[in-house]
Amino acid sequence: MEVITRGAVIPEPGNSVENKTGTWRVFKPIIHYEKCIRCLICWQFCPEPAILLYEDEETKKKTPAPKEPLKRLPVVEIDYDYCKGCGICYNECPVNAIEFVKEEK
């Protein structure tokens, strides 16, 4: 039997990452990088957060972009381990770069 900590204290910050809420998903957002203008609105509004920001040169450069200079800007990737498929990113994307498709399992 697991021993409950005194006062039900949870000593490890942020350990909810062990819950992979991606299994909840019915619809799945997919970013089409050739349309993505890297405005970060999806990252801003993600409630999980399951949209991660990458600022390293390697990811910024290797990810496709509609225009070459945009590759200087930070880029996002969806973490499907946690994305519950709410579709806020798909709904808010100003350039319709996010497709929302039925999840196949």
Partner: protein, 297 residues
Amino acid sequence: MNYEKEEFFAPGHGLCAGCAAPIIVRWILKLAGPNTIVTNATGCLEVATTAYPRTSWRVPWIHVAFENAAAVASGIDAALKAKGEKVNIIAFGGDGGTVDIGMQALSGMVERGHNVLYVLYDNEAYMNTGIQRSGATPWGAWTTTSKVGSANPIGKLRPKKPIAKIIAAHDAPYVATANPAFFNDFKKKVKKALSIEGPKFLHVLSSCTTGWRHDPSKTIEILRLATETGLFPLYEIENGDFENMRITYKPKKFKPVEEYLKPQGRFRHLFKNPEYIKKLQKDVDEWWAKYGKYYRP
């Protein structure tokens, strides 16, 4: 230091897909940074982010009971003052834990002048226990305790409790209403609140896909409409100075209230009688006729 690119709120929490509360919390923590202690009233946020033995919080966090997020925050403030430490203390409460059950604790916290930022994420009913009406539920909304039928075709028969005005009437240094869909305004108000010494109160509208009965992807869109229709005005009041209240956003052209009501199942019955829509539109028009002069961008 700018911590906007760091996450102090971890994924893996159990809040519904499309819930607005984690967006609000995530950004308030980013703006406050790691030197923060959070107290939380009972509610969706507390239950879904700290299912034992896991937590989504990367800052010290405490929950005691439904009614006393503000009282616990007051105690933390007193302790830190005695120790001579400076830490951001933030209390999060839903509308049930703030406008109904936690009202006296909050009133006391403001009266005693504790250095706490109290954030109300207002989803306009007791969503955690199954969509019961609260003091913050608006007129005409369906909930499981303001049911709609032949005896009552309207839903909730009373208007929303004006909580921001009530706290402002305590002469609190800073009171503001905010909406995450108006992101820059929201961020500005959080930063301003954190920079002020004493009790601060932020009333943030937070849509609930389950209780408002809307598509999860429409969360931000519906929140935006709440302000674009004039139903949820964004303003701030400092030191209880109502005469110098400042409306921070005014739509160039107000959208009709129907646009906000239509996508939400909780207002579906109102469309059976045009008088109900007219009443809500009249309420909004009257509010803006009375307070519109305080628009000071």
